[in-house]
């Protein structure tokens, strides 16, 4: 009951600040705004038909190219309006000069010169007023390449009836992850996703660790702690503060995740409507990995939050806090660094030992679950160790806090800290 009261206050007093509201709702809105704007700009540039003059010195590629370029834009208009301009090697300079004038006069958007030896020279020239219009160039290049390939095949004596089948038959490599329950499709994205998840945890710890620390020092500087400690036991107070701040962080994370999910789903849906299927890029996450990630995220967050709280309990000013939190930041950085090691050999004895160590487990065990198949007991053991360490840290922090608030002044050294633990 008292614990809930403390959690409620910590949560509400943070959630109601303008800064929190701005970060939580403002940033997704701003990010989504930028995305939308960029999307509209790209779309606007893509939805413009190009007037294209083609000079075909080879005298054989134009029909195939014109056919290939007969595509539609999203808005249903033809992507290219192509017309041929007759020229020979002798008249080319004069024709080109004239085309140049037309482009500058905006009668044409660009012109393409296909050399006579196009089947062997590998290059053609595209002159455009707006050379940076990537979408147009990419589309042009792909269609031109296809036309050249077809022409080369025809030149090599392959029957026209077979060419279409050869050109359109694509190829891709599927990678499978070997597991006990059977092989499952995994193109390495689980490892990438695991790293992304781990970085999210890392960023959130850095961001919110300081908040936890400040939450603890807050009452020391304002001297509210005596009244609080006279009302509740220090453990409940510490636990309440940590849980309150973590709840704040999770609320923020939930808003962000929901936004991201919405944007993602919307994006994939939009892409599908436009004809491109992106569903293959949506990472396939096993449920077990998700469960592990969520649990370890919470445990890791709580564990590190309790460590930041301990720092807050020891120091008496913000400047001191900055210095004292260095070791903690380094432990976190070490966990991230070791993640690459564990990813390389997830089942080695060292990896197993490191992934059971409570301060590394939230990162390393998740990585192991993502890239290999650690025994369930190891995962559960790591969770239990994390939870126990979190509670232990909170208990010790509570003791330090109880004595520490009554002795402001210089930061205690280690022997003094140990004596404080004895006092309380």
């Amino acid at each position: 009951m008292k614990l809930l009261t403390i959690i409620k206050r910590e949560f509400l007093s943070r959630v109601r600040t303008k800064g929190f509201l701005f970060f939580t709702f403002g940033i997704p809105v701003i990010a989504a705004g930028f995305l939308f704007l960029e999307y509209r700009i790209v779309q606007a540039s893509q939805n413009v038909s190009s007037n294209l003059a083609v000079v075909d010195l080879s005298q054989q590629l134009y029909p195939a190219l014109a056919q290939a370029l007969d595509t539609k834009l999203d808005n249903g208009e033809a992507a290219f309006h192509v017309h041929q301009v007759a020229a020979t090697a002798a008249t080319l300079p004069a024709v080109e000069a004239q085309l140049r004038q037309q482009v500058l006069a905006k009668q044409e958007d660009g012109y393409l010169i296909i050399p006579a030896d196009v089947l062997t020279s590998h290059t053609a020239q595209y002159h455009a007023r707006n050379a940076a219009a990537v979408a147009v160039r990419e589309s042009l290049q792909a269609h031109l390449r296809e036309a050249v390939t077809r022409a080369r095949m025809a030149a090599a004596g392959i029957p026209t009836s077979q060419i279409a089948g050869i050109v359109s038959g694509g190829f891709s490599l599927n990678q499978l992850k070997v597991t006990k329950t059977g092989d499952s499709t995994d193109n390495g994205e689980t490892a990438v996703v695991a790293m992304v998840l781990v970085f999210v945890l890392y960023l959130f710890l850095l961001l919110y660790g300081v908040v936890v620390m400040k939450a603890v020092t807050e009452e020391k500087t304002t001297r509210i702690s005596e009244v609080l400690l006279a009302a509740v036991d220090p453990f409940a107070l510490m636990l309440g503060k940590i849980l309150g701040v973590v709840a704040t962080a999770l609320a923020q994370l939930a808003v962000w995740a929901a936004t991201l999910l919405l944007v993602g789903v919307y994006g994939v849906a939009m892409a599908r409507a436009a004809g491109a299927d992106f569903t293959q890029y949506v990472p396939h996450l096993p449920a077990w990995l998700l469960v592990c990630f969520v649990i370890f995220f919470l445990l890791g967050f709580l564990l590190y939050a309790s460590l930041y709280a301990a720092i807050g309990a020891v120091v008496s000013s913000d400047q001191e806090a900055q210095q004292t939190q260095m070791p903690l930041t380094m432990v976190l950085a070490a966990a991230i660094y070791l993640a690459f090691l564990v990813m390389a050999s997830p089942s080695s004895t060292l990896s197993v030992a490191l992934s059971l160590f409570p301060f590394f487990a939230p990162v390393l065990m998740v990585v192991r679950v993502a890239v290999s198949n650690p025994p369930v007991w190891q995962v559960l053991l790591a969770m239990a160790l994390c939870l126990a360490t979190f509670l232990g840290c909170t208990k010790v922090t509570a003791k330090i806090y109880r004595v520490g608030i009554l002795m402001t002044g210089k930061r205690p050294n280690l022997p003094e800290l140990l004596r404080w633990l004895k006092y309380a």
Binding site: K2, S13, R223, I224, L229, A230, A231, V403
Partner: protein, 341 residues
């Protein structure tokens, strides 16, 4: 609510040397030989005291004498190195915290919270249900004439208003015991008077009130029991009336005009505290009879212009100084006592 029988008991509570002989109602607070050291500093040494239920108990001593450390052990912020604290007969712990309202010497509030929310928070922290907490917060704000400020943030309040809020925090959960550490420090006379009235009201409701102060005259006005401590040790305790009666009428107050040097030459006077317009003469034990006093007055009358004289019980301050060994008390505490007098 009637006052609890213990404080009405004709026999002073300190005459019961063993708990088994004490009346059935347990003391509100009992310290049994508690000690506390910080490293080499011995803040409290084997302190034993009992606060009877329903008493207004003055916990007195100069700054640095161990008052705050003792109080922190009573509210279970600190744990004694030796001995134990009983609250209503139960060992002090987390479950006794709801029995005590505590106003610490060093004040602090969440300055960014709204006043009413802050009060509700502290009430709920002491186990009051949310709906009731809201109601009590409004009542107390009204009582303190701060109703208009309930929806303001604390940093918009003046220092004096914040002091009052801090006081409400201590009493809002309606605990049977109130512990106020230097509660009047920093209060202007109007507010101090208002809080004093509230304290008397709470006492009439049967609450036990312990307050610490280094200002002896404040304790003399409010307390029925006192405990004097010095250097972490108890100097004396008991009912204020008993203590003063035991000390006897040993002080002669003389309002005068003239040369003060004469006081030190007066036979039968041990010591003279001169305050300019009047002097307090401490009489030797053999000079406290009416006849001896009239001899002294007859000695002074031709040498000074005396406008008024009175035979007094010694002030609590004087009793304290006598108990700790007279004027040569430590410089700091002596100064404190002098300025507060």
């Amino acid at each position: 609510m009637p006052r609890l029988p213990c404080s009405l008991s004709p026999v002073p509570y300190f005459l019961y040397p063993f708990p088994c002989m004490a009346p059935a109602t347990p003391s509100a607070i009992a310290c049994e030989g508690i000690s506390k050291s910080y490293g080499d500093v011995r803040a409290v040494q084997e302190l034993a005291l009992e606060v009877p239920a329903g008493a207004v108990y003055g916990f007195l001593g100069p700054n640095g004498s161990g008052k705050t450390t003792t109080i922190r052990m009573m509210v279970n912020i600190l744990v004694p190195d030796a001995g134990r604290v009983l609250i209503q007969g139960k060992p002090a712990g987390d479950h006794t915290k709801d029995l005590i309202g505590y106003l610490p010497e060093e004040r602090g509030l969440y300055l960014k919270m709204k006043v009413s929310e802050l009060l509700e928070f502290f009430a709920e922290l002491k186990g009051v249900r949310p709906a009731q907490a809201r109601q009590r917060a409004q009542q107390w704000l009204k009582r303190m004439e701060l109703s208009d400020w309930g929806e303001k943030k604390l940093n918009a309040l003046s220092k004096g208003m914040q002091q009052k809020i801090q006081f409400i925090v201590a009493v809002i959960a309606d605990p049977p015991i109130l512990i106020l550490d230097e509660f009047s420090s920093g209060l202007d006379p109007v507010n101090a008077n208002q809080l004093k009235d509230i304290l008397l009201e709470l006492r009439a409701q049967g609450k036990t009130i312990l307050f610490s102060t280094h200002r002896m005259e404040e304790a003399e006005r409010l307390c029925d029991h006192v405990c004097l401590i010095h250097h972490g040790r108890k100097v004396l305790d008991g009912r204020l009336a008993d203590i003063r009666a035991a000390a006897g009428k040993s002080t002669l107050r003389v309002d005068y005009r003239g040369d003060r040097a004469i006081f030190n030459q007066t036979p039968g006077v041990l010591q003279a505290d001169d305050f300019g317009n009047y002097a307090e003469l401490r009489l030797a034990p053999e000079s406290q009879s009416p006849a001896a006093v009239s001899t002294i007055l007859r000695f002074l009358a031709p040498r000074l212009e005396i406008t008024r004289f009175e035979l007094l019980e010694p002030s609590l301050n004087q009793i304290f100084l006598d108990a700790v060994g007279g004027p040569p008390a430590p410089a700091t505490s002596n100064q404190q006592l002098a300025t507060s007098n």
